[in-house]
């Protein structure tokens, strides 16, 4: 697949100055790289070849388990525990990293190749001041103390952070998530690397912050002439950023090409599936839903907090039968607190929560059995929401027995709820550890719908999942809604909201800043916060033929699996 177009690179030091001029030259050449896992000897990535040119960004896309992180780490000649590079080359600026010993590799890390990890909070040492960490990252003995400090300040200015001494004396916990990620970027760029590996650096960030961080990354790679490898499962982000796209599937690169080509003319069925899975921001074409006289759930004047801290203030939301209302907000906006108050998990709130005309008590224990049965909650993280010691069957039957009563035919109950969550009945005998993330979330949904609730509260239920899995879960929720279930859908993803919700409430710092039919909010946002959210969402449009028939997704899936 690859043609070894690597040219000998003689000058490795001054990438920043001459980068733009020499663009077009391949800095990173990976040839036939194979990594296996011990002791099973399974190939985690097999025979992968990629090339990245100076000043360009390669988007490496694939779902969890496709081997993209393993590939990213092997570009630094780093192997996770019990993995090993068994074949191929990783050439950075003409030098083969895979062949170097540990000492040689260590000298090149940070200078030739740098890495920006997914979670900046865990990447920065919480015990060290920022200045110390940044100086450490440079680790160049030939520079004087003054030069090092100058370089650190310079790079901080470039990532749009303050460069004064007070800032350098700060600790990581004194920064916001976005600032932490900028520091991580600064740390990566401080040594003027040839290649920079970015492992989903914006996954944990809000859209607004994500937009700023992506902009910084884009500008930095251009200015420094660095070759970037951007790892992500989200096609929308990659489409926004990358010059070239490589799609990974089960340890192999199944498609590779210029970004525009891959997006407009995807060759591989899996690429098409990934593209179709991205929720598009719909700003028009919404049908107007008729508001009901008496909504199923009416929240009025709700104020909630933890201890003395107020998280929510004066919240008014209502959900009608068969309607999907989205609560949209960034982290810390109080959206989870609101959904937990509705579910009876957060007790510290005042105000009125009416469900089907009756007042809901603050604690689930003081609500009637019928109320608990009819309001069900699906949690954000499917990896934590299922008891690891219980089979799927028991996970579903437990709540059913408690809320509905002893079933006459337990197998039928389990099979029916699994079917409603689009899972085969044979899954009943499995333990959670035998399920993938998406399957776990389906089991959580099956558990919730088993008791036939009227309202399903979904707390960011797709945020821990890949985009491709997210699309399937959303489709499932649509089906449930058509069967008459009301959904309170909590999310930070505005594109998702524009596709699933009938009405949307936009939360900002504990208050609802905008509330109305989704068509109206998306096409004519009134609050500036809403406008900013829409503007910061990555622009993404499906441009390849046949993309309009998004309903054909099911066929595509089968094609990939088959």
């Amino acid at each position: 697949m690859t043609e070894n177009e690597h040219t000998e690179n003689t000058d490795t030091g001054s990438a920043a100055t001459g980068g733009a001029a020499r663009s077009g030259e391949a800095v990173l050449v990976v040839d036939g790289l194979t990594v296996i896992g011990r002791p099973s000897d399974v190939e985690i990535i097999s025979g992968v070849s990629i090339t990245v040119k100076r000043g360009e960004i390669l988007g490496l896309v694939g779902e969890s388990g496709s081997g993209k992180t393993t590939l990213g780490l092997s570009l630094l000649a780093h192997c996770k525990r019990a993995t090993e590079i068994t074949g191929g080359q990783v050439r950075v600026g003409g030098q083969d990293l895979a062949g170097l010993d540990e000492k040689g590799v260590r000298r090149l890390r940070g200078r030739a190749v740098a890495y920006i990890p997914q979670s900046p909070a865990s990447a920065l040492n919480p015990a060290l001041r920022l200045g110390v960490q940044l100086r450490e990252a440079l680790h160049d003995d030939s520079l004087s103390e003054q030069d090092v400090l100058g370089r650190v300040r310079e790079v901080l200015r470039e990532v749009a952070l303050p460069d004064d001494d007070a800032f350098l004396r700060r600790y990581p916990h004194q920064l916001s998530g976005g600032q932490q990620q900028r520091v991580a970027i600064a740390m990566a760029f401080v040594g003027r690397p040839e290649v920079i590996v970015l492992d989903e650096p914006t996954t944990g960030l809000d859209v607004t912050t994500q937009a700023h961080v992506l902009e910084t990354i884009r500008a930095m790679t251009r200015d420094y002439g660095t070759a970037g490898v951007y790892i992500s499962h989200d096609m929308a982000v990659v489409a926004d950023l990358a010059d070239e796209i490589a799609v990974m599937y089960q340890g192999e690169v199944v498609e590779r090409g210029r970004a525009a080509e891959v997006l407009s003319d995807p060759r591989h069925a899996y690429t098409r599936k990934l593209l179709l899975a991205v929720p598009l921001l719909r700003t028009s074409g919404h049908e107007e839903a008729e508001p009901e006289e008496e909504p199923l759930l009416r929240v009025s004047g709700l104020t909630a907090g933890y201890g003395r801290t107020k998280v929510l203030e004066g919240i008014d939301v209502s959900v009608s039968r068969g309607e999907c209302v989205a609560l949209l907000g960034e982290s810390g906006s109080g959206k989870t607190t609101l959904s937990r108050s509705v579910a009876g998990l957060h007790h510290q709130f005042t105000g009125e929560v009416l469900f089907d005309g009756d007042r809901l008590a603050t604690s689930s224990y003081r609500r009637t059995a019928a109320q608990r049965r009819r309001v069900q909650y699906v949690f954000q993280n499917p990896y934590e929401a299922l008891n690891p010691r219980k089979r799927v069957r028991e996970q579903i039957l437990g709540p059913y027995r408690h809320l509905v009563g002893r079933p006459e035919d337990p197998d039928a109950v389990v099979a029916e709820s699994l079917e409603r969550a689009a899972l085969p009945a044979s899954y009943a005998d499995r333990f959670p550890e035998q399920l993938s993330g998406g399957e776990r979330q389906r089991v959580c949904i099956a558990r919730a719908v088993a008791t036939d609730p009227a309202l399903l509260v979904c707390d960011e239920i797709t945020s821990a999942l890949d985009v491709s899995v997210q699309a399937e879960i959303v489709k499932l929720l649509h089906g449930l809604q058509e069967q008459g279930m009301a959904l309170l859908f909590v999310t930070h993803n505005i594109a998702l909201v524009s596709n699933i919700a009938d009405r949307v409430a936009i939360l900002n710092k504990g208050e609802i800043v905008e509330y109305g039919p989704v068509g109206q909010v998306m096409s004519a946002p009134e609050h500036e916060y809403t406008r900013a959210l829409i503007a910061d969402t990555p622009d993404f449009e499906l441009s390849f033929p046949g993309a309009q028939e998004r309903l054909g997704l099911a066929e595509e899936e089968r094609a990939v699996e088959g």
Partner: protein
């Protein structure tokens, strides 16, 4: 299983991860431990049925060795050492086992309640535990025994009470970790009674530290029961008991070493065996209780 394997199998592997016992069995130490423990348990359980005499029958002169029909000779009163050795194990095992079981059970209940209910319940339970912890195990046992007098139920009770706070502390920590998980909140959201949450959702998820604690407490119990017997605060003569045997026969150790060597060896082997099993279990538990994999 190690990190990369979950990356290699995008279709979730249908095989279950091996459980605590199976993981522990992979360690050589566990196998050795099981063999040693099984040997002693076998002697203690089958001994009374195959012993050549009754434990109080006189077959030799005091401290006499080389008697026909008595392989290890006679003890301080001329009773058969082998017979008394075979009879003296099950009392020790029973006392130690029940003391450990009662103590761990009580500690688990206290630990789970304290960890789950928090607030003043937690404070009251754990501060009471702290008070109990202040008494050294053996001294407390001796104190109670010398006031009330040596009784079998008292031995079990005293050792169990001394185990309880130690177990409770470990289980409370494990519970704290479990209740952070959403499946406990899911059970709360449907209004499952608190005691059901503690037994159905929490207890099965703290079994790994629980088993390790059980093994550890069993080892300690064996030691304490044997020491109490030796100090004359355990079972009373003429009962055949390993601890008591050591005490009775120590003066004649030079002329009749078997009467002391046999029970001492048995207790040592049992303790080492139980410790090895516990060690294997705790090593396996580290791999299992990593919590959720992401």
């Amino acid at each position: 299983m190690s990190g990369p394997s979950k990356n290699t199998t995008p279709k979730a592997s249908v095989r279950r991860r091996p459980g605590l016992f199976r993981t522990a069995w992979r360690f050589g130490r566990t196998k050795v431990g099981v063999a040693l423990t099984a040997l002693i348990v076998l002697i203690a359980v089958l001994g009374p049925f195959v012993a050549p005499y009754t434990p109080t029958e006189f077959v030799a002169k005091p401290y006499e060795t080389g008697v026909d029909g008595a392989l290890f000779g006679g003890d301080n009163l001329g009773r058969d050492v082998l017979t008394r050795f075979m009879w003296g194990g099950w009392t020790l095992l029973l006392l130690a086992g029940s003391a450990a079981a009662v103590g761990v059970a009580a500690g688990t209940v206290v630990g789970i309640i304290a960890g789950y209910r928090r607030g003043w319940v937690d404070d009251v339970l754990m501060r009471t535990n702290d008070v109990l912890l202040a008494f050294p195990q053996l001294i407390a046992a001796l104190l109670v025994m010398s006031i009330i007098g040596p009784k079998v139920w008292l031995i079990v009770a005293v050792i169990a009470v001394s185990h309880m706070p130690r177990v409770a502390r470990v289980i409370r920590e494990a519970t704290r970790k479990v209740i952070e998980q959403d499946y406990v909140k899911a059970a709360e959201a449907i209004g499952l009674p608190r005691w059901r949450i503690m037994t159905v959702e929490i207890l099965p998820n703290v079994t790994s530290p629980l088993l390790v604690e059980l093994g550890l407490r069993l080892t300690y119990s064996i030691g304490v029961v044997a020491v109490l017997g030796f100090l004359g605060m355990g079972l009373q003569p003429p009962t055949a008991d390993w601890g008591l045997m050591i005490n009775e026969n120590r003066q004649g150790m030079a002329v009749q070493p078997w009467a002391v060597a046999l029970p001492v060896t048995a207790i040592a082997v049992l303790t080492v065996g139980a410790n090895l099993i516990t060690d294997g279990l705790s090593r396996a538990a580290i791999g299992i209780d990593r919590g959720v994999e992401k």
